[in-house]
Subunit: 206 residues, 2 copies
DNA sequence: GTAGCATTCAAACGCTCGTTTTACCTACGA
DNA sequence: TCGTAGGTAAAACGAGCGTTTGAATGCTAC
């Protein structure tokens, strides 16, 4: 028996996340999803109404958690008066890192998220903006305070670059392969360290 | 009549590029492609054999040109003994920028390329690696010479981050919207300038 | 025990998919 | 002028798609 102790809805969400990451939203069929989840084909439309809505629910489940973790990490960082750029970047990056290492498919979700960016779908963008917008604003304010010489627009550009590099790195788009003897976790942590160092220097650029 | 002065093959490639960018490889059907190209449905299988091979040809057409331009720009930069990090980054980034501004659909291609990364498809990756590998090696060597204190692996990580940020920026994934009164070309040029400044500082990070 | 509800199930709906087939057109060399 | 090869055309192929249906099942409250 395969994960029979999870509810039908949860098993569908998990299987959908895996298959959307691997095959894309259009490429993964509901028959594949329901077979992987070990549920009946009709269960998707019964519980979620449509494939389109299933996609939204796959996002909601993870983004709510990611947003909360990022805001909490930012708050924790800001409590310490010594908090520097690297600490802020860490608050932004490490929750995504943790998610990508999460048992139960978070690793697939970061790839789904990268696909969502690639989709360029307006409805999906609005959904992401609604869920992410206020978080980005909070981070922007914190960065702005620590980079007083940077004008507002310049900072927007640079944070956008950071978000791009992070998306790319977390989704494992890059060419760098994990070496044998290095665990997935170690590989991603190193990736995060490099990213933080690089991004901090980039943000401080004259 | 719609672009009837181009050959059937060229019209198919152009229409496929646009639709793959907008809808993805799985999401765009051959019926949509052939309708947009104003050719018969069977023409794709006649001229390209299969949808899979059509996808490869869409890449080949642009990548051959992009690779040549990047190598030429690198060679030009290396001729000048004063060439610095920014010049190397420019040699890497500006050919992609030019492509994205190319009349006749290059702007769609950079989004197709970003989708290819998101696809995580092994066959496609090998295809891209075969076509890109030697170019990346040349750039790596040039960067290594100008960053003698950086060890080889560290440089790989950082160039991977640059490639990610570039892919993300060129495909217009970001949240920054073009302002009214700023042309598409100006917007992308600014994007490239910010990217170069950011990346140069990131590469020089201690 | 049984009524009532939520869930699961097999089957089918109409539709679109990539691909193939077969006939037709058109130009050019013999 | 005819034969032939390269290209285009409409139509059909079987398979798979998202979704819907209606019956069968399990569970809870009376």
């Amino acid at each position: 028996m395969n994960s029979q102790h999870f509810s039908t809805k949860e098993r569908i969400l998990g299987a959908a996340e895996q298959l959307f990451a691997r095959l894309g939203f259009a490429g993964a069929s509901l028959r594949q999803v329901t077979a992987a989840a070990n549920v009946n084909l009709a269960a998707v439309n019964y519980h979620f109404g449509s494939k389109e809505n299933l996609i939204n629910e796959v996002f909601r489940r993870r983004l709510d958690e990611l947003n909360a973790h990022r805001l909490q990490a930012l708050e924790d960082a800001l409590k310490r008066p010594s908090a520097d750029l690297e600490d802020l970047l860490s608050a932004f990056i490490h929750p995504a890192l943790d998610l990508s290492l999460d048992r139960g498919g978070g690793g697939a979700f970061v790839r789904v998220l990268a696909r969502a960016y690639a989709e360029h779908n307006d409805a999906l963008r609005k959904f992401l903006s609604d869920n992410y917008g206020h978080v980005m604003k909070r981070f922007h304010a914190a960065f702005a305070q620590r980079l007083p010489d940077l004008d507002k627009e310049e900072l927007y550009w640079r944070l956008d670059i950071v978000a791009g590099a992070l998306t790319y790195a977390m989704a494992d788009f890059g060419v760098i392969k994990r070496k044998t003897g290095v665990t997935e976790q170690q590989h991603r942590e190193r990736s995060a360290e490099h990213l933080i160092r690089f991004a901090a220097a980039g943000l401080r650029a004259p």
